[in-house]
Structures are given as C-alpha cells and as structure tokens.
C-alpha cells in the first residue's frame, strides 16, 4: 500500500499525516507536490489540513485549481481512495468531488479541541474496521467547518449513507451542545456516492498515539489498509507495483 500526501502551498498538516502513515502505521508514504500530476503510483491520496494559499479567498478555493487536482479527479474516477482532512475536505468540496460547502463556524472563531464523533456507517473503506456507532475522540482545529448543503443534497446524503461521521456527546448522543461549529445535522464527515472519497473536519492523523491524547484516529487508517488488502486479494490486477 502506498500513500501520497499532497503538499499545497500553505499545507501544514502534511508532515503530521506523513508521520502518522509512515512512522506510526509503518506504511510507505511520499509527499506529492501540488504541481505534480503523478498520482498513479499511489493507492491512497491524502489532502492534508492547513491553510492552502492562506485560505485568503475562500478555504480551498484556489488549491482546487492546482495541477494535482486534475490528476486527483482522474484518480477518483478510477476508484482510488482519497482522504481529505480539514483543509483537504474543504478543497474536495471546492473541487466538486464532494457535495456541499463550508461556512464559518457558528461562533465565528477558530476552535481547537478534542471532540467526539460517531461512525454513522461502516460500509466505507474508511470506516470498515470500526464498530457501527463507535464513538471516536478526535481533535478539530478550524474556523470554517460549518458544513452546509441544500435540503435535496442532505436527503441524498442520508439516503445513500454518505454521512460517515457526526459530532456527538462522549456518550454518543447527537445533541446541539456536541456540535462545535454549527454543522448541518452535526455532520463531521461525508463520502462521495461511489464511496472512495472521504472528507472530514476532525484530524484522525493527530490521534494515532496515546501520548497525544487519543488513538481513535487509527481506525480510519486501518480501515483503508484492510479495504485495500481485501481489494488487492480479490482483484490481482489492482495491485500496485
């Protein structure tokens, strides 16, 4: 399994994702410069958190025009796994690879703390190793994580099981007090219809070592590894060199 972590100008969680994948999980991982289109060698492409292009125009709005995003679109169409974390999620929304948009946090402030999210579906390559309804403790660090979409889109997301994570209380209850940013129906992460693209605001890559306060993020990476292994054994032609 080989991971590529895209580096946009202003990405600043690229090293964190690299460390989580390379050092903690012991998987092959490389940085992928935003002007490169060479995504083919990778099984998973990660769009890391940060402030691509300073987020000056609108979060993710400029990064989506990076050459690498054209390649990511092709990669997605071919069924490759794409994980967008925080700013990466915002870029995926801007690129149209996931539906909806981000608004400023309801409190209009940047917020960095641990939150709890519930796994809404294990039918994805990003959550297959989790228990249904499992509550994960993960950090957030954003000022624009207030997910929004129109009613029709929300209905579709719900019908298709595309809502992967919701903010909940530590006990797993959905409640406004557990929603850190005003996100629509407490949405913390969604997938595309095909299921190979996940975007989420919390940072699983920051929660892979007990010393840092939580290991709950590991389940996202383990799920991807398991899914890829399954896929590889059932489809020998997909095995990467």
């Amino acid at each position: 399994m080989k991971f590529g972590v895209i580096v946009f100008p202003g990405s600043n969680c690229d090293h964190d994702a690299y460390h989580a994948i390379g050092t903690v999980l012991g998987q092959p991982v490389e940085f992928l410069w935003h002007q490169s289109e060479a995504v083919d060698p990778y099984d998973v492409v990660v769009l890391p958190g940060g402030f691509s292009y300073g987020d000056y125009l609108r979060t993710g709005a400029i990064a989506r025009f990076s050459p690498v995003m054209r390649a990511v679109e092709r990669f997605v169409r071919r069924g490759g796994l794409v994980l967008g974390i925080c700013n990466g999620f915002q870029i995926l929304l801007e690129a149209g690879l996931l539906p909806g948009a981000m608004l400023r946090n309801a409190g209009l402030r940047f917020s960095c703390r641990h939150v709890h999210i519930r796994v809404e579906t294990t039918e994805t390559p990003f959550t297959s190793a989790a228990q249904p309804g499992q509550v994960l403790k993960l950090p957030i660090a954003h000022s624009e994580g207030n997910y929004f979409c129109d009613r029709g889109t929300l209905g579709e997301l719900e019908r298709n099981g595309q809502i992967v994570f919701r903010y909940v209380t530590p006990e797993g209850r959905e409640h406004p007090s557990a929603n850190p940013n005003g996100s629509l129906t407490n949405i913390a992460g969604i997938r595309n219809r095909e299921g190979n693209v996940l975007g989420l605001m919390p940072h699983p890559e920051r929660a892979v070592e007990a010393a840092l306060g939580s290991e709950d993020g590991l389940v996202v990476f383990r799920s991807m590894l398991e899914s890829l292994t399954r896929q590889a054994s059932s489809d020998p032609l997909r095995v990467s060199a």
Binding site: P9, N12, H19, G54, R109, F110, S111, C112, R113, A211
Partner: protein, 764 residues
C-alpha cells in the same frame, strides 16, 4: 521637493529622535553632513528599540554562558544544545506598542517577527507561547465601563491576531499566560516566545562573508507600510495622538511567511547559503548593516532592484520600510541559481540586489546614484550607550497600606465563597476561551498543551526527548519590589518546567518597562535585571536572548515593570512528562516545600497583601512579594526532576497565583472528575495558609505504594514532603487546624473557574 534636495539640519535630526549629541556622533562617523536617507538610517538603527542604548549597560550583568549555550544574545535567537546533536533555538520578543495601536495586526506581526528570527537560524519553529497583559475585563474600581469594553476589544483583537498568524503558519501555540491590571489598559503587553529545533551542523548565522558574494532579497515586496513601525513606535511614549500612528503598524501575511519558512529551509539545504537575516524592525537597513558588521565586511545594494509594491518609493522609504515577510540572504557566488530555483518553486520573489564588499561600508545605490554610504560597523555597533540616571521611587502610600487590609477572616470562618470568587477572577480562571482559538496540536508533538500542566511540553520526533517551556512574570510583584519580583519570575518559570518533569536548561527574557528617561523606571530596570541575574545563576539557567521594551507608558503613566521570563527545560524521557491533573482516587496528595524551616511564622502578613487573593477579594495591592529563597527553589526543582525521572509521581503542580487552595483545585479541574480532601495545620491565619503565594512549593500526588519512595527521594534532597490529603470523588474539602474552611462540590467550583473568562468576554 526631491528627497535629495532636503537639507539635513540639527532640527530635522531632532525630529527623527536623534539628540544633539547623537547627531554630532553621526557627523563624526560620516565626516560630513548626512543626507535625508542616511539620517533616516541612523535614526532607526539608533532608536531605543534597535540599539538598546538605555539597557545595554545593564544587560551585561545577565549570565549568558554555560556549557549548553551555543549562541547567547546578539544573534537572531539564542541556541542551546539539548543532546542527540540537536539544538533548541528560542527567543521571546515584545510587540506591545503596535498591539495597542492595532491589536489584531500588532499581535499577528509580533508572532510573525519572532518566527522569522527562529527559522532564520535554520531551525523549524515547533512551538509558540504568549505572555499577555491587559487592562481589567470585569468590573473594577479603577476602570470605567467604557474602559472595560475597550480592554475586552483589545484582548479579543490580540488573541485573534495571534490565532490568525500562528494557525495559518502551522506552528502550535502551546502555552502562555495572561494577567490583568489597570496599568495595562492603554498599554497592553504582547510577548511572544518561539522555539525551533535544528541539528547543530544545520545552524545558520547572520554574518555576511565572502567578498563578491551576491546579496539576495526574498519574500514580500517592499511597501510604504510600517515605516518607523517597530523602531519608532516602540521608542517613545504614547500620547493622545498615538492612534494616528495606525498606518505605521505593519500588516501580516502568514501564508507568505509559511512559504518563506519552507523555501528558506530548503534553500539552506543546498549548502549555497552563506548568511541569512530577516527584515524585521528597521527592515532593509538593519539586515544589511548588521550582517555586514557581524561579518566584518561591507554590503552594497541597488534599491532599484528591490521588489516594490508601490511606485516611486524613495530610498528613504525603501530603506526604512518594515513590510513583513522579507529575508536577506548572502549566497555563494556562482551558486545563485540553485537558491533562486528553490524560491521560484515556492512562488516567491527572489532577486539579487547587491553584493558583499570589502570596504566595510553600507552603500546604497538608487538608479545609479549613491543614496547612502555609511560605515556599517559604527552604524550597527557603535550607537549611543546611556548610563541613564536611576533613583528609587518615593515610597508610595499604598505600599505601606497594610491597614487597608481589614483584619483576616475569623478563625474557622467559611472561606468557600471567597475561594469561589478567586477562582472566577480573570487572572486565575481557565484560559480555555483563549487557547482554544489557537491550534495547539499541529505538528503532532504537543505532549502537554495549554491547561494540562505547569509547562507546555513538545516531543522531538525521532528521539526519546521532549522540551518543556513556561513563560512567567508578575508585574504587581515587580512594582512592589522589582528585584524580588523578577527573581520570582525566573523561579516560577523554572519551577513550572520542573513540575512537568523537565530539567530547567536555559532562559530568555522580555523586559517591559516604562520610559527609561525617568530615573525611577531605570531604577526598576536595574533592580529587575539584577534579580533575574541572581536567580538565573542560582537556578543554572543562562539567558540566551530576548528583548527590551521601554516606553510602555501612556499619558505619562507607566506600566508595572514587567519582566517576563521564558524557561526552557529538557526531558530526557518524554514518556515521563507530568501533568497537573490528579489521576486516581485514593492517591496521596503531598505538599513539597523547599524551605527548610517551613512557613516563616514570624512574618507579619506583608507578603500576603501582594497576593492575588488580597487584590481580588480585598482590593489591596500592597506589602511586598514573598521573600525568594533560591536555594529552596533549587532543592524543589532537583527533587521534582528526580521524582519525575523515576516515575514516582502521578501529578505535579506548583503553588503560585492564588496559593495552595487554587493549586489543589486546578489539579482537580484538570482531572476527569476527581476531587480532593485536604487537612492543613499552621499558625498563620487560614486565608494566608490557603491563598498565600510563597514560592518553592508544589502539590504532587502519588499512589500509596510509591509514597515511601517519594519520601526517600525528598529526604535525599533535604526537601520537606508532607502528606496533606487524598484524591477523592467527593466534595472539595479543606480543613485548617481541624476546622473545615472550604467545602463545595467540585463541579460548582469548576463551573465558576471554567466559564468566567468566556462570560466576561462574550457579554457585551
């Protein structure tokens, strides 16, 4: 009129802040009259901010050497070795004046400036801490409702500015402290400490070497913003007109800085970079003449090649601009392309604007004409040095005013309500509302972030080590007794670092004072420096850098003298990091006390009048700070490090603001629902015993099985260790001499403490 046609006169020099004597010195150095550009260059280089002309003679008293110190004061930042071939590069700096004029941008560019100082040395910044001071944000005798609203706005702007810059840049803001006093209302303090890590062989210094080597300008374009920004704003008192200086405040672009960071570190790896310095205060002027001076060379630059944001800028403007996010590099001749290629990759302007020369001159060309020509070394290093008059202030009435403190509460009186009020005072209350706006986790090294322990702890990936950092200062104490107050600042920062399990290793200081031309301010300064020096020697933490901020006065009223100390500690084993939170029900709570004789029973209570409790509950700022016993602090530090290293402790928290009772409560609040039941004995009044702030003490907890080991180690270091209670799940209860004096549900105490700041800052 063209700039070159303006004749420089002594009056014009005076307008630039140069005294007659200083101007005579300019004439002597040049052997002629300066032109306007040269006058501007001298004026910024010899401003208080850049030249340290009032503080230099005092700063020489600070201990700056030690086997661990690779670079003391005088470079962009201090450097200490920390083992494994690694170095910690760190420094604290103020951005006070700009933060009052424009809180958001002032604070943001304060963060930007110190980060550049760190990565200029070849180190990647891994942590930031802030020491902040504001006017009162809740109802206060000495502040009108409008003033309180303004103080809240300033705090909000400063915090947002720090968040904006640090978060986007991608450095975690891992800790800091905030205090509130009326004297900071019109002169807030924003002190930012940054820490970076580099391999020893990868360090860079700002010394222009190699005659003929090209000088390369990198980063943001030069604009008219910030002319006389840091250098002059910070070199005079504030008046009613100061708000008109808003255009002098620089504007920060953290995205540009992030690109600069990555590009500079990558460019350094090519091996073609000879020297590098950021353009901070006094911009192009300071970076060129300092690099030349340190390298024993000269530099010639052509301003026409400097990337400019605006048209028809004059040499004066270009040389004095303090536009942010700019760097100056000296590169090996013949290898320019390798370096330029890196900057091109990151989309940054990088232009060769000049070269290193052998004549020792800073020579500035503009469209073929010489716009300035000044010997670099005298300009950078031979500025005026003043031994300003000093005099202790006339004894102030409130200092004597013990009578203002009505008698101590009666024996056995219930202090729960006072305690709750104390917990909710902004100085003591949780700072969560502030620190949650900072990304304190990015780079995934934060083993202990804000609120979790006495110091912030960041690990160093690839090693077993971690670094601990704490910033501390107590302006009220320094006002009452500058020397003792300053010693406390060092002792508390070192104690905090030790409570996290780390060995205090080195220090940095930011000295915030009033107008140095006033003898009593210089007296405060002199006393404080002596106090810092004495404490740093005793606690073995050499000063490796920092800055001095004078003229913190508005309308003739000075701030409290406020030295803030940053102490860096090294944890050999990151897994031994200690937090303040109690960990398990049934654990034993032990009071560690460095003083051999225990509480000085003969004291009259004067030290108590300077406490947070006396101020908050009784409205008294009087007396003197508790005496400092540096040998006791040393014993406590050594014991804590030994206990932590052996894994004997479950938690450690020093006793400082709010005393023992607050320390106990905070260890409960940081835990998962635990409480404490404590029984104390003593001869002093209960309020004093609970809320007194004598140093050299810490509250620790351990399991009953490890208690004996704790006592053995404490005895080895001649430290008194007294069991005072138990970690429980019940009421928070404190008995004094057998009578219950505090008794409350820990949740109600926590609520008062946890939400006070948010309540104050979100109600308009």
């Amino acid at each position: 009129m063209l700039e070159t046609e303006i004749k420089v006169t002594p009056e014009l020099a005076a307008d630039h802040g140069l005294t007659a004597e200083e101007y005579a010195r300019v004439l002597a150095i040049l052997g002629r009259e300066p032109n306007l550009t040269e006058l501007g260059i001298f004026s910024v280089m010899w401003s208080e901010h850049c030249s340290y002309k009032s503080s230099k003679v005092y700063l020489r008293r600070l201990p700056t050497r030690g086997p661990q110190v690779l670079q003391g004061p005088g470079e962009n930042a201090g450097v200490v070795e920390i083992g494994d071939g690694l170095c910690a590069v760190f420094k604290i700096e103020s951005h006070n004046h700009p933060s009052y004029v424009e809180p958001f941008q002032g604070a943001a560019t304060g963060v930007g400036g110190i980060l550049r100082d760190i990565f200029t040395m070849g180190a990647r910044p891994i942590a930031v801490l802030d020491a902040l001071r504001f006017g009162p944000i809740v109802a206060h005798d000495h502040a009108s409702p409008e003033a309180i609203r303004r103080n809240r706005r300033i705090l909000d702007g400063v915090v947002s500015g720090i968040a904006f810059y640090g978060n986007c840049f991608g450095v975690p803001t891992v800790g800091g402290e905030v205090q509130f006093e009326p004297c900071y209302a019109q002169n807030p303090l924003v002190n930012v400490l940054a820490l970076g890590i580099a391999r020893k062989e990868d360090l860079f210094f700002a010394r222009a070497r190699g005659v003929g080597n090209p000088v390369i300008y990198v980063g943001a374009k030069t604009g008219r913003d910030g002319i006389h920004g840091a250098s002059l704003l910070a070199s005079a008192e504030f008046t009613e007109e100061s708000k008109q200086k808003r255009p002098n405040v620089q504007v920060g672009d953290p995205f540009m800085e992030k690109l600069l960071l990555e590009a500079c570190l990558e460019a350094m790896k090519t091996g073609a970079v000879v020297a590098i310095q950021d353009m901070g205060a006094a911009g192009l002027t300071c970076s060129t003449c300092e690099m030349a001076s340190r390298g024993g060379t000269g530099i010639e630059i052509d301003l026409a090649r400097v990337p400019q944001r605006e048209t028809s800028m004059t040499p004066y403007e270009i040389m004095l601009s303090e536009s942010q996010e700019r760097m100056l590099l000296v590169v090996e001749r013949g290898r320019e392309q390798e370096v330029l290629e890196v900057f091109r990759k990151w989309g940054l302007d990088a232009v060769e604007i000049g070269r290193v020369t052998e004549n020792g001159l800073l020579r500035v060309l503009h469209h073929g004409r010489v716009a300035a020509e000044i010997p670099a070394h005298p300009l950078a290093e031979e500025g005026p040095v003043y031994q300003r008059p000093i005099a202790p202030p006339a004894a102030r009435a409130e200092k004597q005013g013990r009578e203002r403190y009505a008698a101590f509460a009666a024996e056995g009186a219930d202090l729960t309500e006072n305690f709750t009020r104390l917990l909710a005072s902004p100085a003591i209350a949780s700072k969560r509302w502030i620190y949650e706006q900072y990304d304190h986790m990015v780079r995934t090294n934060t083993l202990m972030g804000p609120g979790a322990g006495d110091a912030a702890v960041v690990r160093i990936k690839g090693t077993k080590r971690a670094l601990a950092l704490s910033v501390d200062g107590n302006g009220r104490w320094c006002y009452l007794a500058p020397r003792v107050g300053a010693m406390h600042a060092v002792a508390e920062a070192a104690r905090n670092v030790a409570c996290s399990g780390a060995r205090p290793w080195a220090a940095t200081n930011c000295l915030n004072f009033g107008n140095p031309e006033k003898p009593e301010v210089m007296w405060q300064f002199s006393e404080a420096v002596d106090g810092i020096a004495e404490a740093c020697v005793a606690l073995k933490v050499p000063i490796t850098g920092g800055n001095v901020s004078f003229y913190n006065e508005t309308l003739g009223k000075s701030i409290f003298p406020t030295p803030t100390l940053g102490v860096l500690g090294v944890l050999e084993d990151a897994s031994r990091t200690l937090g303040m939170a109690f960990r398990a029900e049934g654990d034993v709570i032990v009071l560690l006390d460095g003083e051999l004789a225990g509480a000085p029973s003969s004291a009259t209570g004067g030290e108590f009048l300077s406490s947070e409790y006396a101020k908050t509950i009784r409205g008294v700022v009087a007396g003197a700070p508790p005496a400092v016993d540096l040998a006791a602090e040393r014993r406590l530090i050594d014991t804590l490090v030994a206990l932590a290293g052996e894994g004997v402790l479950r938690s450690a928290h020093d006793i400082s603001d709010g005393g023992l009772a607050v320390a106990l409560a905070e260890s409960c609040f940081a835990s998962e629902g635990l409480s404490a039941e404590v029984s104390l004995e003593g001869r002093e009044p209960a309020e004093w015993a609970l809320f007194g702030e004598r140093g050299a003490r810490a509250v620790v907890s351990t399991s009953p099985e490890l208690l004996a080991r704790l006592h053995t180690i404490a005895a080895q270091y001649q430290l008194r260790a007294r069991e005072i209670g138990t970690v429980t799940r019940g009421e928070f209860r404190v008995q004094y001499n057998g009578r219950v004096v505090v008794n409350a549900a820990v949740e109600s105490l926590r609520d008062a403490w946890a939400r006070a700041l948010e309540r104050a800052l979100t109600t308009r």
